[in-house]
Amino acid sequence: MSDQLTPAAPEAAKPDPADDGGKPRPRLTGKVIIEAILEGSPVVITILAVFMALVISALLIVFSDNNVLHAWGDFFSAPGAALALTWHSIATAYSALFEGAIFSPATIGAAFHGGSIAAIFYPLSLTAFEATPLILTGLSVAIAFRAGLFNIGASGQFVGGACVAAWIGFAVHLPVVIHIVACVLGALVGGAILGWVVGELKARTGAHEVIITIMLNYVMYNLLNFLLSSTNFLQQPGQSNQIAPPIQQNAIFPHVGGPPPQANVGFLVALAAVAGVAWLLSRSTIGFEFRTVGANPRAARSAGMSVERSWALVMLISGGLAGLAASTIIQGGGPPPPLNPNTYGTYGFDGITVALLGRARPVGVLLAGLLFGALQAGGTVMQAATNPQVPVDIVEVIQGLIVLFVAAPPLIRAIFRLRAARGTGMEAVAKGWNG
């Protein structure tokens, strides 16, 4: 701890520089790339974080495998067998993960022998399907993050959107395209209202948004349970389970290829949302205000911006995006089944990890959403392909580890002996309950 030699404090104290500010980008020469690697630029840190997460998860897979443990017990009599089994255990799991998420060489061989060509693209289609809600909840968290707010309530806002979308989906009769649009808009409004409530409460009373959103999540879960236990509201008539009627065919998103899950129009909605948020943040006045408020609320106030209005507005948009995520699940054509108490799953909290990995930038969120979607899609395949089963929960572990490492660049730098660099963003946001 030699504070005199390396002043570490300015790195932590430096505010997140507003990106896309007019400074010219250095050209991507070899020297620049090497420099970036040595200094641990954000991209390099992210790649190393993914690598570390995969390594630790591999250890977890190996050391929970009875066969491998037995082989290690006989290490001194048969060292080769232990190593081979260890390698086999990891390789089977991760290659199944890859084949389930990106593509499987077997399908190419099959296509030559008269199999379907669509099967080659099925893993990618599945990845896009899984990534769709993650991108949207990720954007929801990210845009609030840029305005300095931490939206843990994407889960509750998701429920709000899901209820409205499901209700419009089964109870209202509309022509094909209009019905789809109505459902999507309904979900948007459902989520946006909840988000706006949070923003408005924060603006009017200063109450911490994290506390309000956590509490609203549970209020919404209970509300969902209530609505699903009465046929007057969302429960399917003649059902004793808490489940809504399936939505009408007119309201289901068209999708590519065979039966769902497959990439569908929801993915286009997500891409449009990425483009919209990117435009909003970097090109519009409102977005500029959001970023200013996020970087320094006091400066924003003295510049004549209404911090409170920005909070309410950004939460409105954030909630709307979480609601949209719900519409992509409800209108995805199933599986999963119609709205039920498990529909919200972990989308809201996964959105937080997606936003953090994407460093709260729209394109970053898109990439992070695709990565986690791929893990999700591959994880399901991996679970089926391995023996003893590698449960799909490992995906959650990988996600958590990735974000943990991304959030602590000094740790990654220490592990890989990288030089300390200038501020890389994430360290700057630490703030307490008291704002």
Partner: protein, 422 residues
């Protein structure tokens, strides 16, 4: 420095005292106009002893509507008194407690009026206690961490890890006590992880807590499927049985409620007292609070800020781990994926609702436990109040509290701010 409830737009200018008074009067009015008027004719019956054990006390039969009118009237009177007089803080708390108890009494009378089945008050309170045990441990863990200035949103994850470790170790080794100790240690290790990243690597503590929760959910879910599902003997389902304290356990009414439970309730008593006294009446507590309120000043006076924070976060994790163990080896015995199902977040709410004090958190946790067990009792009486609305009340109450309608809720000043030596 803005505080948690600092009004930014001055639109809530309502006086807190008149608000509280109005709230009391409103509850009284509900008791009279809803519960009293709409109560079925007849008596409400309450049992005060558990059948087949201990001293039997005859059931109490009360005229339901009359009780509702009386407690309603009393609540209104207390409300007016609260609005006119300026009571001391102790009396204010007493008034809140009384009015809430009255409301619950009226609710139960209304629910049970003319009903054949009696409401067993003893088992109702027992269930409330049982429901609040994990919340109590979680909230105490939160107090430990946040008083020293580290936000702990990972309570949920610590409960989950504690629950898993307790179940698997107790099953593998065959000793519940070792299971309990190891769940405390495992959750303490998760606390250490929180401490390392929050204190040493200066990661935002709210982000960190969320990520640790994801991690805990993933790891326990993974190991459950990987280890427990194939080997049922690793999830054997043993659990602590109730221990009735000699003498104390035989006292009518009080005995079965307070002194006839699993070891976890007794550990909770001890920890509540130790942490409350420790934080507010010892040198250790003064130092912890100094570090949580103003680390720079504490550092100037020679306190080792980072060490104190590390210690508290790890200890907090260990406390949460005991609460986690309760979820498996303290009650159902078996571990299941996501068995903590949000208890950690309710504990967080209880801690905030209790204003970052151990006793306040425990009171809040109890209130949440009552809401939980009332939901069960009322649905068994076929009352037309959906149980989900009862289950919702703790969360709504917390929102109301942080929004600033009921008293001032303020976090320790340096809560969540990493300390970097200048």
């Amino acid at each position: 420095m803005t505080t948690l409830v600092a009004p930014i737009r001055q639109s809530f200018t309502l006086n807190r005292d008149s608000l509280a008074a109005g709230f009391f009067v409103l509850l009284g009015a509900i008791e009279i106009a809803v519960f009293g008027v709409f109560a079925h004719a007849g008596h409400a019956t309450f049992q005060l002893s558990i059948s087949g054990s201990g001293t039997q006390i005859p059931d109490i039969k009360v005229p339901a509507a009359l009780v509702c009118y009386v407690v309603g009237g009393l609540s209104v009177v207390i409300g007016f008194w609260r609005g006119i007089a300026e009571p001391s803080p102790r009396l204010k708390r007493l008034a809140i407690g009384t009015v809430i108890t009255f409301f619950l009494a009226a609710l139960l009378c209304w629910a049970d009026a003319g009903n054949q089945t009696a409401v067993n008050l003893i088992s109702l309170v027992q269930q409330s206690f049982t429901a609040s045990i994990p919340l109590v441990f979680g909230a105490l863990a939160g107090c430990m961490c946040e008083r020293s200035g580290v936000i702990n949103i990972a309570i949920e994850g610590q409960l989950l890890v504690g629950a898993f470790t307790g179940a698997i170790i107790a099953s593998a080794i065959g000793s519940l006590w070792i299971g309990l100790i190891s769940s405390s240690i495992a959750a303490g290790l998760l606390g250490l992880l929180l401490a390392v990243f929050a204190i040493t690597f200066l990661v935002d503590q709210i982000i960190l807590g969320v990520v640790l929760n994801v991690l805990a959910l993933g790891i326990t879910g993974f190991l459950y499927d990987r280890l427990m599902v194939p080997n049922a003997n690793l999830n054997a389902g043993n659990s602590f049985s109730a221990v009735k304290l000699p003498l104390l356990g035989n006292i009518p009414i009080i005995g079965p409620i307070f002194f006839d439970s699993t070891i976890f309730l007794y550990i909770a008593y001890i920890l509540i007292i130790v942490i409350q006294i420790g934080l507010f009446s010892t040198r250790w507590g003064l130092r912890v609070r100094a570090v949580g309120e103003h680390p720079t000043a504490a550092d100037t006076l020679g306190l080792r800020v980072l060490w104190i924070r590390y210690r508290n976060v790890v200890l907090g994790g260990m406390v949460a781990g005991i609460g986690g163990a309760f979820l498996t080896i303290g009650s159902v015995g078996f571990f299941n994926k996501d068995i903590s199902s949000g208890f950690g977040f309710i504990a967080l709410a209880a801690m905030i609702f209790g204003r970052w004090t151990p006793l306040g958190s425990v009171a809040a946790a109890l209130l949440f436990g009552v809401a939980d067990s009332l939901a069960i009792v009322l649905s068994s009486l076929n009352v037309p109040i959906p149980s989900n609305f009862l289950l919702m009340t703790p969360y709504l109450a917390t929102i109301v509290a942080v929004v600033g309608l009921v008293g001032k809720v303020r976090a320790p000043a340096a809560d969540g701010k990493p300390y970097v030596k200048a």
